[in-house]
Every structure is written in C-alpha cells, then in structure tokens.
C-alpha cells in the first residue's frame, strides 16, 4: 500500500493506493498515529486508489476508527470501488465509519 496525506484546514485527506492487507500494517499505524497527534478535526480516507482489502485491512479501519474516537477525530471514508466497495457493503462498515460512495 502507498498513501499520500493532504491537510486542508482541520481536515486531513489520506489517499490510499494498492492493497489494504496485513502487509500495510506498519504504514497504516503511522497514519493512525498522525491522526492522533496532529490536532486535526476530521480525517477522510480516500479509498479510490485501493483495489483490494481483506479482513485484516478491515481490522485496520476498526483500529483507525477507535483511535479517532479517542482523539476526537471524525473518521470518514470515500469512493471505495470494486472489491473494496463490495467488502465495505457486505460488512456494513459504512454504518460505523461514514462513507461517501
């Protein structure tokens, strides 16, 4: 997985690319750490560039969401496509992390 971070006002957009699986663990934890420390109000995960997610990847989304709650950062997702969109719908992750389809 690759990612780019862009801050605009208090909103951070993290664009994820590639595959969100267990291998992305270290990178994703850095994203979470930044979210907790950098005093932002909202963090949007742009999933448009992501072409695969598995249950370990969903687990990372849960971690991010819980960290967001603790740090008062609103986590959101947007633009999942293909298999990623299917996974988010099947597991109803948009009910715990708001998602713009």
């Amino acid at each position: 997985m690759n990612y780019t971070v862009r801050d605009l006002g208090g909103v951070r957009e993290v664009e994820l690319r590639g595959q969100l699986t267990f291998e992305a663990n270290d990178d994703f934890r850095q994203i979470i750490e930044g979210m907790e420390k950098d005093g932002i109000a909202e963090c949007v995960l742009n999933l448009g560039g992501l072409d695969f997610i598995d249950s370990a990847g969903l687990g990372l989304l849960v971690l991010a969401n819980n960290a967001g709650h603790r740090a008062s950062v609103q986590l959101k997702m947007k633009h999942p496509r293909g298999q990623v969109r299917d996974m988010i719908e099947i597991s109803e992750f948009h009910t715990i992390i708001p998602c713009e389809f």
Binding site: D54, S55, A56, I90, S91, F93, T95, I96
Partner: protein
C-alpha cells in the same frame, strides 16, 4: 621463553577462555620434542595434554575418549598412512581436528595426507608463536563448532516439542468440528448430503463450522471465520465453541443468534480482531433456508433446474460494535437444491501469477461442475480438485467449505 609465553597468554585471553578446558592428544615418537608442543598449548591455555608414542598407544588413548584436537607427528604415519582413516572411524573423531606436524617431502605427500583425512598440516620448521597460533585457530574452531552443534541440538529439541504441541492443539481444534457420525446422523434425518472441507493455512486456523439438529424438519449450520490465522485466531475459535455450547442461543432465529453471539464477543476480542459468520437454518419441510450474515461471503444456492442464486450478505462482523443488528434472509431450497458456504480464502486466494481467484471464479467453478458430480465423491470434492489445479498450496488463509445438497424428490412418492 618467559617473554614469549607471556606474549602468547596476553594475546589471547578470550581464546584461552574458550579453549582452556579442551583436551589435546599428541602422537609423537620422540618424547623430548613434545615439550615445544606442550609449551605452545600452555600458552593458549590448554593444560590437559596426553601423549602417545606410537600408533597403538594413540588408538588406545582415542578409544578411551576422543580428544578435542589431535596433533600427529609425521613419523607415526610412516608406512601407516591409513592410521588417519582408522582414527576418523573412531567414536567422536569424525569432525575432530587432526593436525599433522612434520617435514613434508613435497606436494604429493601433502595431498595424500589431506586425502587421508588430515584437517590441516603444520610444516616444520615452525616457530613456537606460529605453532601456538595455528593450534589456537583449530581449538577455537572446534569450540565454536561444538557450541553451534549444541545450539542446533537445542533448536531441534525445541522444534520437535513445538511440533508435538501443535499437533495436539490441531487435534483439539479438529475436535471442535462435527464428527463424521454427527454429519451422517443429519444426512439420514433430513435426507441431505453434507460435505465439508477444513484446511488451515498453518497448523492451526481461525475458521470453525458447526451443524446441529433443531427439530424434525429443521437443522442449523454455521461457518465462522476469525480475522487472521494461526494460533491467535485459533484461540478465538475455541472461545466461540465454548460460548456456543455453554449459552442458550435462540438457535432457530439466525439474526437473533448472530446478535447474541456479537453481544458476547464485543469486549472479549482484542480491538482489531473480529469474526465473519453465516448462520443458517435449513427447513426441509418448507423447502427454505433462512440465514443471517455478519460480514460473511455470500452463499450460493443451486436449484434442480441448474439455476444458481447468490444470496445477499450484509452485516457488521461479530465483535466490532455492540450496536450491530442482523437481518434474516430467505432462499428457496426445494429437494434437489444445494447450498454452498465457504470462507473468503476461497476467492481471496491468488494463483501462481498473483491473480486473485475472485468470487466470480467460484461461481464459474460451481457452474462448471459435472452433472454426475454427486456420484463421483461429491460436488465439493470435484470443485476443490479443480480449484487446486490452478491454486498453489498452502493457501494464505484458512479455508472452510460446506456443501449441503437435498436429495431429489423420489419420482414415485408412494415409495
């Protein structure tokens, strides 16, 4: 002499520590000449030195116990070149360093000695510090080899123990699944065929499935997949199994059942761990499957006319949120139908080129089954045989697959 001695001692305190307790055997025909060797050995910290004056004495000494290093004077090998081979054949001597000391007549003789099994040759004349240095290298080497062998032995012992423990744990995990007898009981009672496949990506897996009778016309079946695989995921399957057997679940209502299990797992599972699960109640009188899913793969139902229906699947995985609620869905399941349930490993696996197998691939596989697969060891077996012709083993994730088919209605209802 004193100066040389202290010089040797000061140069190698660490080596002396490593080689100090080692035992050296010298085979030398002239006792007075042994003094130089003794002194060289003493300078590297070796005190235990035995001396044999001839081949028989040497063999006798080695027979009492292999030394850590053997220094052999060339004189003992005159007309007796096979002495080295005989020494090598003795207990503990296969890897022991054998050094030959002497005035070698030429390359031919040196080659013959090495071929005969000598570890190294020390040509004379040689100064005492040089001799000490050569001896120390071989003693240290011996000591390191010994330690390495000990480490390897201890690792092997650990590995053997770990494998035994894993095998035991794996047997315990397999014991969580319905027995062949239990499946046979369900098959007879509900006129079904129930085939299952359970394959962990390592010794232990994070999948579990179960099936049980509810009443005369209904039975329940479930397939659950905890995130990850290996020991941690396997421990969660034991948790679930214990919950399912100890707690009175509303087993005939899939949505309520998932809700109840979710309530138990939330707070029990670590933050990033959860389970996907499908719980189904098969009613053979009504001819329907009622099921609910928690993030589980969509089930596939095949009908007697060959049509496939892919059941919907919506629901938060278990253990993520206490607020999760689940819905029941219904699929027609007349005689002659089949229900195919599987964990995500089946379609998330990648072939040799890294291409995802994909859910569509599973549908194609089901569509392509021979119509007489029922006779040839069952459709699940045929499906997996075809699957594994292109998919490499072991899979990256645990695979569980269940195939439940209802027998076609007999043509003559009166029997």
């Amino acid at each position: 002499m004193t100066g040389a001695s202290s010089e040797g001692g000061a140069a190698a305190p660490a080596a002396a520590l490593a080689v100090g307790g080692q035992r050296v055997l010298i085979g030398h025909p002239r006792p007075p000449a042994v003094a130089v060797l003794r002194s060289a050995l003493a300078s590297v910290g070796v005190r235990a030195v035995d001396v044999a004056l001839d081949a028989d004495g040497l063999l006798a000494r080695v027979g009492q116990g292999a030394p850590d290093l053997l220094v052999l004077h060339l004189g003992l090998l005159a007309d007796n070149l096979d002495l080295i081979a005989r020494l090598r054949a003795m207990n503990g001597m296969r890897d022991a360093p054998i050094l030959v000391l002497g005035r070698f007549s030429g390359a031919g003789e040196r080659q013959a000695l090495m071929r005969a099994g000598a570890t190294d040759l020390i040509p004379r004349p040689v100064t005492r510090p040089e001799l000490a240095a050569r001896l120390r290298v071989h003693l240290e080497n011996r000591s390191l080899n010994r330690s390495l062998q000990e480490v390897i032995r201890s690792l092997q012992a650990y590995h053997t123990g770990a494998v035994q423990r894993m095998t035991l744990a794996r047997d315990m995990q397999l014991d969580l699944l319905p027995t062949t007898e239990a499946c046979g009981g369900l098959e007879r009672r509900y006129a079904i065929r129930l085939d299952s496949h359970f394959e962990s990506s390592s010794e232990l897996g994070g999948d579990i499935w179960g099936a049980r009778a509810l009443d005369d016309h209904r039975f329940a079946v479930f397939l659950c997949d905890f995130t990850g695989h290996g020991v941690a995921a396997a421990l969660n399957t034991f948790r679930l199994h214990a919950l399912l057997t100890k707690i009175d679940l509303p087993g005939d209502d899939p949505a309520e059942t998932l809700g109840a299990i979710n309530g138990l797992l939330v707070g029990l599972l670590p933050e990033s761990q959860f389970a996907t699960m499908l719980y189904a109640v098969v009613d053979v009188r009504v001819g329907a499957v009622t099921y609910a899913t928690a993030g589980a793969p969509k089930p596939i139902v095949g009908r007697p006319d060959g049509a496939l229906e892919i059941g919907g699947s919506l629901g938060l995985p278990l253990g993520v949120s206490p607020k999760a609620s689940y819905r029941n869905r219904h699929l027609d399941f007349p005689p002659g139908s089949f229900l195919f349930l599987f964990s995500d490993a089946l379609f998330e696996a990648r072939d040799w080129d890294g291409q995802l197998f994909g859910y569509e691939g599973v549908v194609d596989l089901v569509n392509g089954l021979d119509s007489d697969a029922e006779l040839e060891g069952g459709p699940l077996r045929q499906l997996l045989e075809r699957y594994f012709t292109t998919m490499p083993r072991p899979l990256a994730d645990d695979l569980t697959a269940l195939w439940i088919s209802r027998r076609a209605e007999p043509l003559d209802g009166s029997g």
